[in-house]
Amino acid sequence: MSLLFIAWRNFRYRALSSFLTTLSLTLGVGLVVLVMSVYGIISEAFVRNASVGYNLVVGPKGSTLQLTLNAVYYLSQPIENLPYTEYMEFYPKEKRAEMVRTFGGDPALGERDGVYAGFMTDGYAIPLALGDYFGEFRVVGTTPDFFELLKHGPDADQPFTFEEGRNFEFHNEENSYFECVLGSRVAAQMGMRVGDVMNPTHGDPEGKGHGQGFQIVGVLDPTGTPNDRAAFVNLEGFYLLEGHAKPIPDDAVIVLPESAETAGPDEPLLLTIPEREVTSILVRNGNLMMAPLLQNRIKESVRAEAATPIGEINKLMTMIVGPLMQALLAITLITCVVAAVGVLVAIYNSMNDRKRDIAVMRALGARRGSVTWIILFESLIIALVGGIAGWVLAHLGILAASPLIEARTGVQVGFFSMSTYELYLLPLVIGLSLLAGIVPAASAYRTDVGTNLSA
């Protein structure tokens, strides 16, 4: 009969005490595993959402973290805007001249290349205009390029697909400039679908309605990115909303486009370039090796700031989220230590009841070392059962929450999704429990046979 079997029998014999001690350890371990998993999920969600094909986010001078949170995650307070001409700096003169002809503005803008155009061969720049809301969700004014050029997924290689409908168009006869696409969560939560009209509010979720609606022409498939939580409208329609035109400076030179003269009385006139602003610009330069150089050039400019989303998120994780999670982890580890102390107290309290049993085993020939190991094995059993049950419990919880986690963050988790830290957890718990078992084991070691058999 092995010492481990004898310990197991003792564990089972004191069923209620063993159950309660093991339960406290189970809950402690479960809590630690959950915190580790949540940390893993948050890290992965942030990192994967920061990688959607572009490598720079450009916005007005200020905090690069706020720029990233605003432009990539649609979080934080709206930032200031950049003049549309800053966006035009990413294009060669032919394209800039075409913009002047289409929207109206200073013809001189089309007579030179944009200052960043040299970096943009085979790349793209996509403008974003933020500031309006649809319910609690951000309205994002952008161009159809957003869904045609950007990708998502862990490797940023999956194109956006539509659960229903299509991408919005720059202009068409049916809906003019007022088409929009909803992220999957926006559509689900607001109960909207293709054919409905989305009415944005100005400035904040409780803000005044613009009075101009956008025809919903598409609903995105879930992507697990912040884009699920946004309503995308045609940038031209966004500009045409009340209060979105920037006042024209007195010294502005504006040559109106030909379309302004030929437009019908009901046809809306597009904003001229001096009236336009963008909140941020998503940039992918053609040669990624040149990205740092481009970033430096932008940073050297008077108005604009450039941030690398991955870098900003890593900084955020390192500086804020990481320490917070470490603090939480420390608290839960203390829970484990408390549970280990519970193991100590439970076994130690039972020692008075079992000194006679130990003395009997010693009378049968058991050595001091053998009875010591029996007590340590009991601690080991509690640690193993509690540790494994805690891990299983936490991962069952994660499994049960996996559809919600995937819908909210895009991170796919399963029963066996685990962080590398978890590999160290069970040995740690076993070590702690064995440490906790040392005191009662020492008491077992010191048990005097004669005294306890005569008692």
């Binding site: 085993m361 020939g365 058999l453």
Partner: protein, 227 residues
Amino acid sequence: MLAIENLIKRFDQPGGGELTVLDVPQFDIAEGEQVALIGQSGGGKTTLLHLIAGMLTATSGSIRINNLELTRLSEQGRDRFRAGTIGYVFQTFNLLPAFSALENVKLGMSFGNGSVDAARASDLLDRVGLSDRAHYRPNQLSVGQQQRVAIARALAGRPKLLLADEPTANVDPASADTVLNLIIDSCRDENISLLMVTHSMDVAQRFQRCDKLEDINRAFSPLGAGT
């Protein structure tokens, strides 16, 4: 088989000083011999058994069992010796409550050379008439049945010497007779030397040799100073 010479055991007293409980100039048991040691409670009978079993250390003197000087062994050596040589039947049975009757018997073999002879454990339970209670816990057995399990456990390790400490004191008269027969017959069948301490003349009369503790222990006190 057992040879004791000038054995003295003293205990420290709470108020200082020492109390001599045992002073045995000579005491021997031959191989296969069955001896009853009769004496009043508190006369040092249990202390003598604990010394012979190596559970206590002597203050001075010699205890030789099968030519092995017990007083010169380390604690580990005494543990090993006890597991391989001594069987012990307690007055209060001392079965381990977490284990079944059969497992209690197997425990009697577990601390010796490490091997457990499951067939012998079952056979011993059968011999004490409890094969149908093999998987009962001690608290599911009567006191007489518990003592029979304890006897089987004491015999499990094939001891050379069986020490029995008033094994019939806590069982009813009918069970006492059964318990006594089992111990005497089993020791005879397996050629095990037997030393049984008792305060009962009825029990002592069943033995071929009966010694009085007051005759062998010079420290014997009629007031009962021993343990």
